[in-house]
């Protein structure tokens, strides 16, 4: 991708019938050349190859054309002033994996005798190198809680859905690699019953910080590994006779890997000038939380007799997780 690409931009205005009259008959070689295929006007083509094309523009400007051709032939320098038939070196200032090939349209010929050419569209700005990214977006996940105790909070399933929203910033380390940090809020809940005696409810809310290492395979496809961690605030209720509940704080650490698919810049409006993209990411991994003691305090009226908490056992909400999220990316 870092290979310098040279594109010959055939910037000659379309021929008119008036201009075409003095043109000498083209040699057999000039015919296909005048179709200005970029491949035939590569930097490696000889001056004699490009000459018929330039000559065809105007016979009266043959000296000037000859000079221009000479310049192009001898140096293929990017410092040459843009002119009709000039070749531009399109090397970006810094390697940008996945960046689209830049092609700058050439200026129309500036011969004084030539009639004023119609204005060309403004040149596309150069594609900025990608140095940082900022992602914001929600996601939904599915965790498989391996501890059978979870079934007290979801009798039908060991899987629990979680929703989250997060913000993450990436910085380019070099090459294809990005290092990012972020913060997210996640919550999940469960409802069930315990031996048909208590109706149970659990709500976990988690504030997470994340560290992500991404590799841009091609622009639009990232592979990444991620570690999340933070406190997990767990509320649980047991409704029955009598009722009780409790709150506890534990921690959570996720080890995740996944792929992010997003719109590459070349697909975006304004192409390289766009600063916003969007995508979807799919994550899988393992989520670990230390076991919590489900010690419930008795719900009582005012000034109750002191009640000892009921210890219903331990609950370890840990297991495999999958997640799919969408994100809006600013870069």
């Amino acid at each position: 991708m870092n290979t310098t690409l040279l594109i010959v931009a055939l910037a000659a205005p379309p021929l008119t019938s008036r201009e075409a009259a003095p043109v000498e008959p083209l040699s057999p070689l000039s015919g296909p050349t005048s179709t200005s295929s970029p491949s035939t006007s590569s930097s490696t083509s000889s001056s004699s190859t490009s000459a018929p094309a330039t000559a065809s523009s105007s016979s009266t400007a043959s000296s000037a054309t000859s000079q221009t051709t000479s310049s192009s032939t001898t140096s293929t320098s990017s410092t040459s002033p843009p002119s009709a038939g000039s070749v531009e070196a399109a090397a970006p200032p810094e390697a940008d994996p996945g960046a689209p090939v830049r092609s700058t349209p050439a200026s129309p010929p500036t011969t004084s005798e030539a009639p004023a050419a119609p204005p060309l569209p403004p040149p596309e700005p150069p594609i900025r190198p990608l140095r940082w990214r900022l992602d914001l977006g929600p996601g939904v996940g599915l965790a498989l809680h391996l501890d059978p105790a979870w079934r007290a909070f979801d009798p039908d399933d060991r899987r629990v859905a979680a929703v989250d929203i997060g913000l993450r910033g990436d910085l380019r380390l070099g090459g294809r690699a990005f290092l990012g940090v972020g913060a997210a809020y996640r919550q999940f809940s469960g409802r069930g019953d315990l031996d048909q005696v208590y109706s149970t409810r659990l709500l976990a809310r988690e504030a997470l910080v994340a560290l992500r290492v991404s590799a841009v395979m091609v622009e639009g496809v990232d592979l990444f590994g991620q570690v999340d961690g933070g406190p997990s605030f767990v509320d649980f209720q047991l409704t029955g006779s009598p009722s009780g509940g409790g709150k506890t704080i534990t921690g959570v650490v996720d080890g995740l890997g996944g792929v992010a698919l997003y719109l590459p810049r070349r697909w975006l409006p304004r192409r390289g000038a766009s600063r916003v993209s969007a995508g979807v990411e799919v994550i899988a991994g393992y989520s670990f939380r230390p076991a919590i003691d489900v010690d419930a305090a008795l719900q009582a009226d005012e000034e109750p007799i002191e009640a000892a908490p009921a210890h219903f056992g331990d609950l370890a909400m840990r297991g495999f997780v999958t997640r799919i999220g969408i994100f809006l990316r600013v870069f």
Partner: protein, 516 residues
């Protein structure tokens, strides 16, 4: 999404969280808990679903919960009961299903605090009733009046269980076909004291099996011995309700078993005699006329006469019968009477008689009862009537009467009414020294009465009482409240205050989330 899968279909579930494999939830089954039963140390529930006895014992501010296996998944606990001394729990396991053909019925004897290995007896029948000997040595299992979950069973099958060992003996009563209704140990009057009777010079520990129109006597020390079956229907004409055994003494040498009918003016007297061949014993039946309606009886020995004292409910009199001559006399009481007990007094004994629903307690000193001039019944009025009467000790009675309690001190003949906003059941009480502890189902109060000063104190609970217990082991009052998961309040009987009490709940589901 697949429906429920069994765990065997989910071999790789841990690697395939999205496959939907869902092993059965360990929390779907209903918590099947019966009880409680109180021992001296703990309150015990039977978790029938998990085949465990749950011993709940207060220890300071904490609650110790101990689970002891009773049977297994192929059995179910049919019933459980505490022994007389509340030191053990007896629980009978039966097959959980009629399809379990290789499972025998077993009786578990568990320590009262749950700490220790159970003793297991093979009793071989799904007995529905239990009788405990007051001497604490035996239990008798039999088929009571309740329904039996058996296609066919021997209604006269019983089992003697040695509560001091590990043996159970199955016996079939050799009666006359009457349905067994109750089992009594007529010779055992004192708790924890073996009371064999001498029959022909041999000590016999006799159990009486009361069936319709017959009584069967068995020497529990030798169940293989010939049983003594006494028909009462055609010959005597009554159905036995209760028995009373009088050991032989110098006044009347042969032991005598008195059998009282449900109604009527005669009491059966079975004189126990040795068999002629010396291998066992037999009974010689006689009938004693005791007025018109014998509602209760006791034996009493004066200095010279062995008496049977019978309450004649129809004439409200005490009938004194010399069991040797069947002669006697009546002492009319000026109040309604149906029940009687004797208490010790200085110089002798005193008869105390009353009637449920009556309003008077009658007393009669028996010191010189042969002397007609000395028969001076006395009465104590209970203004609101007698609903329940509980003997607190030799000298004190507790009477429930509507919304009032009466504490009666018999030596001083003092009647102290205690008014309450809601009625107390005197049966839900315990005596701790001079401190009477009260807690009645449905109420939200625990009360104590200092019987020396007769000053009551009450403590409001946070929930209504379901059961009230005093546990002498940890010396705590335990009040249970309605809850399938367990809910109780532990109260210090010495200082029943809210600040010193403590509530425990959910203990029947303690550790439920740790189930495998």
């Amino acid at each position: 999404m697949p429906a429920q899968f069994s765990s065997k279909h989910c071999l790789f579930w841990s690697l395939a969280p999205l496959l939907g494999c869902t092993p059965e939830s360990p929390y779907e089954a209903l918590l099947e808990v019966t009880g409680p039963v109180a021992t001296a140390d703990a309150v015990v529930w039977i978790d029938r679903g998990r085949h465990e006895a749950v011993f709940v014992r207060p220890e300071g501010d904490a609650l110790q919960v101990r689970r002891v296996a009773v049977g297994d998944e192929r059995t179910t606990v049919a019933w459980a009961a505490a022994t007389f001394d509340r030191r053990s729990i007896l629980a009978l396991t039966t097959p959980a299903s009629a399809k379990e053909e290789d499972v025998d019925e077993q009786l578990y004897r568990l320590p009262g605090d749950g700490d220790g290995e159970p003793v297991i007896y093979d009793v071989r029948a799904p007995f529905t009733a239990l009788a405990l000997s007051p001497d604490l040595r035996r239990a008798v299992l039999y088929f009571g009046a309740g329904a039996v979950d058996e296609q066919l069973h021997n209604a006269n099958q019983i089992a003697f269980v040695d509560l001091t060992g590990d043996e159970a003996v199955n016996v079939t009563l050799n009666g006359f076909g009457g349905a067994l209704r109750s089992v009594e140990f007529p010779g055992q009057a004192a708790l924890g004291e073996p009371s064999p009777v001498l029959v022909g010079g041999v000590q016999r520990d006799i159990a009486a099996f009361l069936a319709t129109s017959e009584v069967v006597l068995i020497d529990m020390d030798d169940p293989a011995l010939d049983q003594v079956a006494v028909p009462l229907g055609d010959d005597v004409g009554f159905n036995p309700v209760t028995t009373l055994l009088r050991p032989g003494d110098p006044l009347y040498a042969d032991p005598a078993l008195f059998v009282r009918p449900g109604a009527g003016g005669e009491v059966g007297m079975l004189t126990l005699l040795p068999e002629a061949d010396g291998t066992g014993f037999t009974a010689q039946i006689g009938l004693i006329p005791v007025g018109e309606d014998a509602s209760d009886f006791v034996t009493f020995e004066s200095a010279t006469v062995p008496y049977l004292i019978t309450v004649d409910a129809s004439t409200d009199a005490l009938i004194f019968t010399d069991i040797r001559t069947q002669g006697g006399f009546a002492v009319p009481l000026e109040a309604q009477v149906r029940q009687i007990f004797l208490r010790e007094i200085v110089g002798g004994r005193q008869a105390v008689a009353w009637a449920p629903g009556g309003a008077t307690i009658s007393t009669l000193d028996l010191v010189d009862v042969e002397d007609s001039l000395a028969r001076k019944p006395r009465t104590l009025g209970v203004e609101d009537g007698i609903d329940e009467l509980v003997r607190l000790d030799n000298d004190r009675l507790l009477i429930g009467s509507g919304a009032r309690l009466y504490v009666i001190d018999l030596p001083s003949e003092q009647v102290t009414p205690l008014s309450s906003r809601s009625p107390y059941d005197p049966l839900d009480s315990a005596l701790l020294g001079d401190r009477l502890l009260l807690g009645t189902a449905g109420q939200t109060w625990v009360s104590t009465v200092d019987l020396a000063a007769l000053s009551p104190e009450s403590m409001l609970l946070d929930a209504a009482i379901e059961r009230f217990y005093y546990l002498p082991g940890p010396q705590r009052i335990v009040v249970t409240h309605a809850s399938a998961a367990g809910h109780l309040t532990v109260v210090d009987p010495a200082e029943p205050r809210r600040s010193t009490s403590r509530i425990h709940w959910g203990f029947l589901l303690e550790g439920a989330l740790d189930r495998e």
